[in-house]
Point group: C2
Chain length 203, copies 2
Amino acid sequence: MNDPNRRTLGASVPNDRVEIVVEVVLSAPQPGSLVSIRLPSVRLNFGGIPGDRHHGLTMRSNSRDAKVYARDTEIRNRRQLTIVSAEECADVARRLRLDRIEPEWLGANALVSGYPHLSRMPAGTRIMFPSGAGLLCEGENLPCRYPGEVIQELHPGARGLVRAFVREAYGRRGVAASVERPGEIRAGDRACVIPVPAYATIT
Amino acid sequence: MNDPNRRTLGASVPNDRVEIVVEVVLSAPQPGSLVSIRLPSVRLNFGGIPGDRHHGLTMRSNSRDAKVYARDTEIRNRRQLTIVSAEECADVARRLRLDRIEPEWLGANALVSGYPHLSRMPAGTRIMFPSGAGLLCEGENLPCRYPGEVIQELHPGARGLVRAFVREAYGRRGVAASVERPGEIRAGDRACVIPVPAYATIT
């Protein structure tokens, strides 16, 4: 671990940090509804946001994991939080001919700005907050029809929004994340994105 | 989640599974020594291998995490197990002009064959075992000097093996992994490697 070669070898790996702004912080407290509500801040533990419907060190596998695990298998919870970007939400809204997409309609736990293609953030990327809290990006969150149903219900004058949402939000629905280090996330935080080196080297 | 588009959209993502063989299973039970010992099998829980020095849902950060966390911070444990490949170990041995590199000298928990460039296995790749146990690749494991010291001690006739190990094992020292689903891993298991889709999409 006191490896004289490491610094030299590591020097060729880009490790530029990017600052993002936490515009909105939310939690989804109702087990039966994906819709989240805005909060001034949330305090993370190793399971995510206590009281949130996705909180837990483990979870029951669902259809998202069907290629790997039988449904209802207890597996590690990599979907503790979901994060969406202001830039991608604006893009999805434009594609759906809506004024806006609000993060609560997507059940998001955070809306951030400054990382336009958030959905392409590589797994293993760290997001570090001023409190010391650290999140690990677990990869892109694929859209399902449920947020589309919320959006359709809120826009009764429009048609076909459920299927259109799934189609247009593909690759623009943000990422799932899990807690590497507990702490607080506050609306207005400036957070630091630490890229994963090539091949996701464990630093 | 009942998304009719998903199968179609996902169809362009390669998802070929590869079979590997678990040649050796090991655990490192001594807190003060990295050297692991061979076992017929190990039984994983969500913290890794109970009794192993790297077992735990969380760990204290060390110099590997120094760019991100102050030393001794409690963070999630992504280094529950380490896995090395027979092909890469043979390559490192050849580069060090040794007959062989044994997995116990590296403190590995498994030696596998059939995935020659294991160290380049992308983070998020799953390794599924016949028992139903599932591991998540957490990325490349960078070499430090401690296995080099073990190797040097075992080869008193050779010189400079500590530094040479770090240099030659770079990119060939295997990966760290964590438990997604508990279960047993047995020597002789044929395991299935499920690649992570592009951009580490959460399936």
